[in-house]
Symmetry: C2
Subunit: 498 residues, 2 copies
């Protein structure tokens, strides 16, 4: 039986997806299991798998098959969306020739190595030449993709992480936030001064007790251990495949509260992956929509649901039980204050919900300027410090707590940063819509029952997968396009008491 072009594409993309799953598992192993001495052979395994995936996607037969499938009028909506995603994946790979891919990959490796030393020694100049190489090659790649995609160079990069995302839209939303946040943040911090200072419960807390509480709460949230695991790694992440989701955390013997919230954050990612439609496993349309929706799922669980008074009402006694804690610092009230503490700080990954967007907006503005040719890397430290001062009112004293802190640019991830805050805003908007659609969601959370929330998310986000755009997901689920209003209201309610 001859396959139609569409069927042939499904077969090929299923194989490509299986290869991607293999790579994903090997990445997880590298971070969570592999002994240091395995690094070299693992790098070779991953490089070979990556080059095979690339040649499968850029196989000369693919363009004709795509043309054929795009002209096939018997396809249903999901199949059409599947072809649309295949075309997108193909463009991103085919637009860039393999010499450039290799040169960029080499430049990123070199730059990442130099960055580790530079950050440690607070020596931006030592990594500048490597960073300039990465930026130059990234701009070449952006130019190549730009002409294929009919997008600006920055948007062509953004599209890798946020399919369909446009900087023109982000500009509007981020300007709104940037105008709101400085005064708001000061207001919140001023108000907190008049409140009780939260106390961090005193450890040590055994890793096994932390692990047990984490897995118990993961089960409460709906994590299916028949299709996933919790392990440890230096940098927590959610990886694996949609049928076998591997999340990791990093425990601190003296502070269980941070790793615990980290576990819940990754659980939000995992619930999305696990909830993607089984019927479309292995096909592009059945995959997660993009980074902002993915981040919205982790932040909806962590920030919206699990830092809410309702969840803490449920969880505080469990924390006490888990570690045999009692006294003031184990009270519901203390945990609520602790988990909603706002402080201006230099490091993005340590930032709270209120100050986090300023860190992201800073990076977004800078990376857009760099890609557009309006910012040279030698001027990055000054531009960084000026930008942070304007947004957050504090100025880094060193580049280590400034433009050297994040791996992203040094590792070639340009166009990624905005998805963090788009995700935070999407989370707020989705959670608000969910609670309006089903007023039982919050009371259920207070009892440790996440099923009303999860079923709303399954229907409105997870099961939709990549069948429609991010914009449509948000609009269909919340009745309005993404905007800063709901997020701002959420912040006002939580931090200024309405």
């Amino acid at each position: 039986m001859t396959l139609t072009p569409y069927q042939e594409l499904e077969d090929r993309f299923r194989r490509i997806n299986a290869l991607g799953g293999a790579q994903s598992m090997l990445h997880w192993d590298m971070s969570a299991m592999m002994p240091a001495g395995g690094a070299e052979s693992r790098a070779e395994q991953l490089a070979v798998l990556k080059s095979i995936s690339h040649s499968m996607i850029t196989d000369p037969a693919i363009p004709d098959l795509l043309d054929g499938a795009e002209g096939d009028h018997t396809l249903d909506a999901w199949q059409q969306a599947n072809v649309f995603e295949m075309r997108r994946i193909w463009i991103h790979q085919a637009a860039v020739d393999s010499t450039l891919v290799e040169a960029l990959s080499m430049a990123c490796s070199n730059c990442e190595t130099a960055w580790r030393a530079a950050r440690k020694n607070n020596d931006f100049k030592s990594v500048l030449p490597q960073l300039e190489d990465v930026l130059r090659l990234t701009r070449e790649m952006a130019a190549a993709k730009s002409s294929y995609l009919g997008l600006s160079q920055y948007d062509a990069l953004l599209d890798t992480y946020e399919p369909g995302g446009k900087s023109a839209d982000i500009d509007v939303i981020f300007s709104d936030l940037a105008a709101f946040l400085p005064a708001f943040t000061d207001h919140v911090i001023e108000r907190q001064k008049s409140q009780k200072t939260p106390k961090l419960p005193k450890g040590p807390f055994t890793l096994s007790a932390q692990r047990k509480l984490g897995t118990d709460l993961m089960k409460t949230l709906g994590f299916d251990f028949n299709h996933g695991r919790l392990d440890e790694s230096l940098h927590p992440f959610c990886g694996g495949t949609n049928d076998d989701v591997r999340i990791t955390t990093r425990y601190d013997e003296n502070d269980f509260t941070s790793a615990l919230m980290g576990v819940l954050h990754e659980t939000g990612h995992a619930l999305y992956d696990m909830g993607l439609p089984k019927k479309w496993r292995g096909q592009p349309v059945g995959d997660a929509r993009g980074m902002s929706v993915h981040e919205s799922q982790s932040l909806l669980i962590e920030m919206q649901a699990c830092r809410s008074p309702e969840f803490i009402q449920f969880a505080a006694p469990l924390m006490g039980e888990a570690f045999g804690g009692n006294g003031d610092e184990w009270s519901e009230e203390n945990f609520v204050t602790l988990y909603t503490r706002v402080e201006k700080s230099f490091i993005r990954v340590d930032a709270d919900e209120v100050t986090y967007p300023s860190h992201v907006i800073l990076r977004y503005n800078l990376e857009k300027a760099a890609i557009n040719g309006d910012l040279e890397m030698k001027d990055l430290p000054g531009a960084w410090n000026d930008g942070l001062e304007k947004l957050l009112g504090i100025r880094p004293k060193t580049d280590t707590e400034g433009c050297l802190q994040d791996i992203h640019w040094y590792d070639g991830a340009w166009g990624y940063f905005p998805t963090y805050t788009l995700g935070a805003m999407t989370a707020a908007q989705l959670f608000d819509a969910a609670c309006r659609a089903n007023p039982k969601i919050k009371p259920a959370i207070a009892k440790g029952d996440f099923s009303p929330l999860l079923s709303w998310l399954r229907k409105n986000v997870h099961n939709v997968a990549s069948s429609v755009s991010t914009t449509e997901i948000v609009k269909n689920a919340t009745g309005q396009p993404l905007n800063a209003e709901v997020f701002k209201n959420h912040l006002k309610t939580r931090y200024l008491g309405g």
Copy 2:
């Protein structure tokens, strides 16, 4: 720069090897880490990787490259040996067309599933049709390989596991053993009746204490945790890659002695993999020689070194310390008796060093007859029971403790069994030669110092890799070809006191 055919082959096999490493890691994960729900997607990942490996090896360019490299007179001995191994690998893959490979793989899957039920229900008839399918297709494969390799059908299968192995040679060695063992075994058992009965230390023994003792002893033996891990799985094995060796064990809370010896056994495998020459990583010539040499390394460590009075002198106090044990059953004398107890039993995997070869010789005789067309599968249970009675003097009452006990044939592994006993004999012969070459080896082991033994193995076995044949490894290292004499002498000395 144009590559020579040899250089081009090195490149291609390096990539093929990296793919193999990826598969090996995914297999390890499947056994040691993967949640049950990941099975389906893992099977797909492995199937895709396997088919890509197959097409890389059978790429139409390979035969010309092999011809070119074989005619290249500038190659040194290792390079020539490398080409020889590449040709062997190519023959095994190219000899069999992909329809047959697929049919056999399907038949094995079906048969393995049916076997699990049949073994559980002691119902050989229920798996007979599937087993007949597997045998029929295996014989087709053997016929195809046979004409390429210029070997008998059985030897063509044996060559997969034991490159260069010949049943004519095995027949001679196994006949010798089969003539010796029955009377010897009775003699040993009779003698043990007059000795103290060993006592199994009473548990429970926590898994963490068992794990700690295991890893401590692994370090003593020379296992490099920078290049490997110890984990748990239902069926213990040694996997991963030569730079990242993953061994597993299965703990029993009520008996630490058996898992501990299992860990030491797998450590022997691991030391071999870790000791293969770094210079030839990723090339066929740099890989382990074959299954009998591999098994010789695990059995040399487990049976020759670690069940010796010298090792137990060192290890007995550590066992007592690890579990807070004292009293008779924790004495050196008791552990020596326990670890050299001989008993006739039906199950191969539970058998001791003396009775094990009879289990293997039985299977070797039967599988040879089956492949040669002299044994039909419907007659297997009777032939099995007759054979065991003749070799060991006991007759299974059920097929579950008879011809249904091992997965091998049902899973398509025909020609594998003899390597267990070839390995045991090779281990005895190598250990004997090592101790004669360096008389300090045994006294050092008594002090927990494995370095004299390990350095002999590194030089005579590990570093040799696949640069010469198994026969030559044994001859070069021990001064004589493999034969049953040294093994028989070892058994006489250990079990009849010289």
